[in-house]
């Protein structure tokens, strides 16, 4: 028999949005559970904060989490749905059924990776990816790091790595200076706090060049990374390095919302004023409703937590703050839009799908994500297209919004007996 856990409110994701939702929901006295596949809470941005606190706001929220009556289920991954009000999850020890009255989805976002020659070499990681590894105990002191890709995350990652002793030699931002300038001015005018944060980051990174209109062309090395070649569209040059930390913005983790039947509009989970999705009793909060960063996640999480537990008045008090953070998100996403040149960096033999080793040349012959999957096995490996799906969406404009259970690879034993397995319904 699969063990079961019963909650009034179940929150999926223990990042800022999920934790804020859980704390607010718990104020109602209802039984609240928080499930996350990571071994500890905090999500990506607050990874490691419980053990090594740095971030003041994280500290305050984690204190609130400690005093709230919450059941935290770490190291547990949701892999499917066992019918209405039931999710199938697993840990290293086996399957588990999670039952709920209300569900708050805060699965966060992942980095978008784009293929370029050499990007599969060990030593080439995501920007957030390298930061997560260092927080997990990877030694970085004295290592030469190039940070590349796009978005404000690049600055935060470079500053963090530097505090841990890395030699950050360059930050290469693909966005044009002309696109970033209006963003900087808007920041200055409307977001004094964020301007201060940006200036503090720049100060922490004094001496590290921040090049805009600059992106990686290739990575080289014999069995592991030795150098990266960058371009600004006019000239190319190589920089020797031990690590390349490279991510091209964030994409939402839509697999679970899609599996639950939540409407997705323009690439994000559609929610109403109270963060409720198109599915009654299922709420969405954080990056999954639109990439917007910490403030948006915390505000949406609180609204969802209050709304899911019959506290609409408290939820409504946060609507103005949500509007502000959404406006900021919109400016951000315009400024860091990806340039067309990035669609042409991969060589014919560059792998697009790293699970099944499918080259750019083989993928581009097809007219859709589905055709490429069927003909080449692109996106059919263990990551289920989480990496190459976001890449092909940008490279070829292929929408990838379809999922099937289980949404993560799982042991057959965990799935066979479950109603989440379509075959078991027969």
């Amino acid at each position: 028999m699969t063990p079961e856990r019963q909650f009034d409110v179940l929150v999926v994701g223990a990042g800022p949005a999920g934790l804020a939702a859980a704390c607010c929901a718990a104020e109602s006295g209802r039984r609240v559970g928080v499930v996350d596949d990571n071994p500890d809470l905090g999500g990506q941005i607050w990874r490691g904060e419980r053990v090594h606190p740095h971030h003041k706001e994280a500290g305050a929220w984690l204190q609130r989490v400690r005093t709230a009556s919450l059941d935290f289920l770490p190291g547990m991954q949701v892999i499917g749905q066992n019918g209405p009000g039931r999710l199938l999850a697993e840990t290293a020890d086996g399957a588990c059924e999670l039952r709920f009255e209300r569900l708050i989805l805060a699965p966060g976002a992942r980095e978008r990776f784009l293929p370029f020659p050499g990007w599969t070499l060990p030593g080439v990681l995501g920007a957030g990816g390298l930061q997560a590894m260092v927080k997990g105990g990877l030694p970085i002191e004295g290592r030469r790091v190039v940070v590349a890709g796009s978005g404000p995350l690049l600055l935060a990652v470079a500053a963090y790595l530097r505090t841990r002793g890395a030699k950050a030699s360059l930050i290469a931002e693909q966005a044009a200076w002309s696109a970033l300038l209006p963003f900087g001015l808007a920041l200055l005018r409307t977001q004094p706090d964020k301007t201060r944060q940006a200036l503090a980051l720049r100060w922490a990174l004094r001496g590290v060049p921040y090049r805009t209109d600059c992106w990686p062309m290739r990575a080289d090395g014999d069995g592991k990374l030795a150098s990266v070649t960058l371009t600004n569209g006019r000239r190319t040059w190589s920089v020797p390095c031990d690590y390349l930390a490279c991510g091209f913005g964030l994409v939402p983790n839509l697999e679970l919302p899609l599996l639950m039947g939540c409407d997705v509009r323009a690439g994000f989970v559609a929610v109403d004023e109270m963060q409720q999705t198109s599915v009654n009793g299922v709420y969405g909060a954080g990056e999954v409703t639109g990439i917007g960063g910490l403030d948006k996640s915390l505000t949406e999480g609180q609204i969802a937590g209050y709304a899911a537990t019959g506290q609409p008045a408290k939820a409504r008090r946060l609507v103005a703050a949500r509007k502000r953070s959404q406006r900021f998100a919109a400016t951000l996403n315009t400024a860091f839009a990806l340039r067309d040149e990035l669609r042409h960096v991969a060589a014919p033999d560059t792998l697009v799908c790293r699970c099944e080793d499918v080259s750019y040349d083989r993928v581009r012959r097809h007219e859709s994500w589905r055709a490429a999957k069927l003909q080449t096995r692109c996106g059919m490996g263990p990551c289920q297209g989480r990496v190459c799906g976001a890449a092909t969406e940008f490279l070829f404009g292929w929408p990838t919004t379809s999922v099937r259970p289980p949404i993560y690879p799982t042991a057959l034993a965990n799935f066979l007996e479950s109603p989440a397995n379509p075959a078991s319904l027969a």
């Binding site: 596949d37 990571n38 071994p39 990506q44 490691g48 053990v51 190291g75 290293a92 992942r110 980095e111 990776f113 599969t120 060990p122 030593g123 080439v124 990681l125 995501g126 957030g128 990816g129 390298l130 930061q131 997560a132 590894m133 260092v134 997990g136 105990g137 990877l138 030694p139 069995g223 592991k224 790293r354 699970c355 099944e356 080793d357 490996g381 263990p382 990551c383 989480r386 990496v387 690879p409």
Partner: protein, 83 residues
């Protein structure tokens, strides 16, 4: 001083600080290659957050564990594809 944990990577004992995840421990043990891809290419961690499945190793006999999502525990035995 933080507590250390003794684990084995490809049969060799390594001491790592507590709260270290397996991916970081494998790197600390001097390994760059975590797994071989379906066509035999060497691979290491990419996303650091359980999404990409590039950092898979065998942990205590269980294959295909994402090393970035597992914390080291005393006595853990880890094997990479090149072991």
């Amino acid at each position: 001083m933080p507590e250390t944990i003794r684990i084995k990577v490809n049969g060799v004992a390594v001491d790592v600080p507590e709260h270290t995840n397996v991916a970081a421990a494998v790197t600390r043990a001097g390994h760059v290659h975590f797994r071989r891809s379906v066509t035999g290419q060497p691979r290491g961690p990419l996303c650091g957050m359980g999404i990409c499945f590039e950092c898979r190793v065998t942990i205590d006999g269980q294959p295909h564990r994402r090393s970035c999502q597992v914390l080291c525990r005393p006595g853990m035995e880890i094997q990479t594809d090149d072991a």
